[in-house]
């Protein structure tokens, strides 16, 4: 996962559901603040997958128009295979999953299903190929498919 600038901080476009759920954070102004919010997010949402931190310049988020949230699938050749719409409406893990499922047989004949408990995203991984879900760095942190 690439943690990008907050979508609905208390000092920005705050929304009622976050007030109700007590998800109240200011827009991080430093790397330390951004790291702290990202870590809290991973803990509270039980995200046990690798998480990367976009810089304070939001360069990567901008390049991918990732705000407020968005899904991509990038092929082995480095080209975009799937690009979801902007969240929340365009954030469709099932579409990403279908894209991965469709793509993997083109690089591997067999595959095993690996389910990750983040927003219901299920990722098909090629046998031994490992799809780094949520931006990964290799087959680590429980992502390795036997």
């Amino acid at each position: 996962m690439v943690y990008i600038r907050e979508a609905h901080p208390t000092d920005g476009w705050q929304i009622g559901s976050n007030v109700r759920d007590r998800v109240l954070f200011k827009q991080p102004k430093s790397v330390a603040e951004r790291t702290a919010v990202a870590q809290t997010m991973c803990t509270k949402l039980k995200i046990d997958l690798p998480c990367l931190l976009d810089g304070l310049d939001n360069k990567v988020g901008k390049a991918y128009s990732g705000w407020p949230d968005r899904l991509y699938f990038v092929g082995v050749d480095g080209k975009i295979i799937y690009k979801g719409g902007p969240g929340p409406r365009g954030f469709r893990p099932a579409d990403l999953s279908a894209s991965i499922e469709k793509y993997l047989p083109t690089i591997k004949a067999t595959g095993k299903k690996s389910k990750h408990a983040v927003r219901g995203l299920a990722v098909w991984t090629g046998d031994g190929a490992c799809v780094p879900a949520f931006v990964a760095f290799g087959c680590r942190n429980g992502l390795k498919i036997p």
């Binding site: 996962m1 920005g12 931190l53 990567v60 975009i80 902007p86 780094p132 760095f137």
Partner: protein
């Protein structure tokens, strides 16, 4: 008095001027982009995914997208807590 073809041309010219003026006015009145809103949508399927180098949360490691090229596909999820 202007009549016939000349008159039609004059009306058409006036309509063009009015349309341009309306568009210019609308442009001026357009609401300013919400601060911190969406960024321009630049990428499309088939494009080369822009490379990046980002640090992990513990700051101990830097990961680049290009390091996966030729090796394995990558699923990218962009998001925040709020």
């Amino acid at each position: 008095m202007v009549t016939g073809r000349k008159g039609s041309l004059l009306v058409a010219a006036m309509l063009v001027v009015l349309t341009i003026a309306s568009l210019a006015e609308a442009q001026g009145k357009r609401k300013p982009r919400r601060k911190g809103g969406r960024d321009p949508d630049l990428l499309k399927v088939g494009d080369v995914a822009p490379d990046f180098k980002l640090k992990t949360l513990d700051g101990k490691e830097t990961v680049s997208l290009s390091s996966f090229k030729g090796k394995r596909p990558v699923a990218l999820v962009f998001g925040s807590y709020t």
